[in-house]
Symmetry: C2
């Protein structure tokens, strides 16, 4: 039996170079969209609906959704919460539907719609995602959300961590897989120190949310795998 | 005085995210287009004209140019030479004008035309390029040619090697610079072993040109800096 393949797409701007049909896409936006989704669903949120624009967010809020709105790292006025994983973990949100619109993560999900299924990855659920892919044994593409089209360090490192967990079971011929896997191997002993040199960390640290970042770099805090079903993201039952 | 900036564009498909006006672009297509250009001009070729299509190549050949034609790693029928650095170093080409059309390198040059100047980099002239940039002190973008739009390991490593030589004199806020610099630091002790795991190496090795690859990974074999002047690439006099 042929091994399934895994590819890494380092930026949504490179998605057109990857064939997604029939494959499983793992979307990663470690700081902070997909970390929030994992933390929120693991803490009891019923579903999270990603939308591209603030206007769509407001429309669903008018229907009773909790609104999470972020642009350029900051909470948008009029929304209930911003993009901190801690606010997604509030007991008050348990059982609620949330609509979220973030800078890069939402757009990476929307651009991946051609895939057979889209799941959500972060360091917080790294092993759960790896286990899910190993069980499914279908070809996978890890899509890094990046920052405004450019690659970023934290999503690249997550992708590298994930492919290293797939070694021996999946195959690849992609240099992005080699590069990301090697980077993670070299940086894993002190992820926080390395990511604190990254551009996004510098942007976010200015906004005073270092605790968020430290939390988003925790590995395997949760064991759920979020999956996109229609317009919503829910906890996968597989 | 502000330090000049350096950015890395890991694939021509990401070039629209970089502002090139007023900057110096370094184009790198280590296996093998820019290595050939460096080796050829250092060995006496008068000028090398990169063109996008085989048809344009044939038109210049009709005017007396030596034709170098490569597609998918192989020499194109009717052209004098393919894409091996050794054929570019032939004494018979000394003083001649060459037209070249390769898969990725030529296209990276054409897409960088908005820059103030375009120079050509490879491991073969790594220190010469670093010295050139340090003397000029203008903002620089290193453009990796990649492979059909995707990133590749060898060009990423060249970019990493170059930014490490610019440390302290240039500044950056780009995660691609961090990632490529770190990768090079970790792989530099045995570039050949690492690159022999890359996708492009596997493709080229099948074509039986391992000697080419070993040559292209030699560091600082030449001390010239090729520069694009009009339609031609010649040795920079600066």
């Amino acid at each position: 039996m042929n091994k399934p393949t895994v590819e890494i797409c380092l930026s949504p701007e490179l998605l057109h170079l990857h064939q997604l049909t029939g494959k499983t896409v793992v979307v990663a936006d470690v700081l902070r969209a997909t970390s929030c989704i994992v933390a929120g669903l693991a803490s009891g949120i019923a579903s999270i609906t990603p939308v591209a624009t603030l206007e769509e967010g407001r429309q669903l809020m008018a229907k009773g959704y909790i609104g999470a709105g972020e642009r350029d790292g900051k909470q948008v006025e009029g929304f209930h919460i911003g993009n901190s994983p801690f606010s997604y973990m509030s007991p008050q949100l348990s059982g609620k539907k949330v609509v979220t619109t973030t800078t890069n993560g939402t757009q990476a999900i929307q651009k991946s719609r051609a895939a057979a299924q889209i799941i959500i990855g972060a360091f917080l659920n790294l092993s759960a995602v790896a286990l899910y892919l190993k069980k499914q044994r279908c070809d996978a593409v890890i899509v890094c959300a990046g920052w405004k089209g450019k690659i970023n360090l934290e999503d690249t490192l997550f992708a590298g961590a994930l492919v290293r967990k797939l070694e021996g079971i999946f195959q690849w011929e992609d240099d992005a897989v080699l590069a990301a896997g090697e980077l993670y191997a070299n940086m894993q002993m002190d992820l926080h120190a390395h990511i604190s040199r990254s551009s996004h960390y510098q942007r976010l640290a200015k906004l005073g949310i270092k605790e968020d970042i430290r939390f988003c770099l925790e590995i395997d805090r949760f064991s759920i795998v979020p999956i996109v079903v229609g317009e919503e993201i829910v906890v996968s039952q597989n």
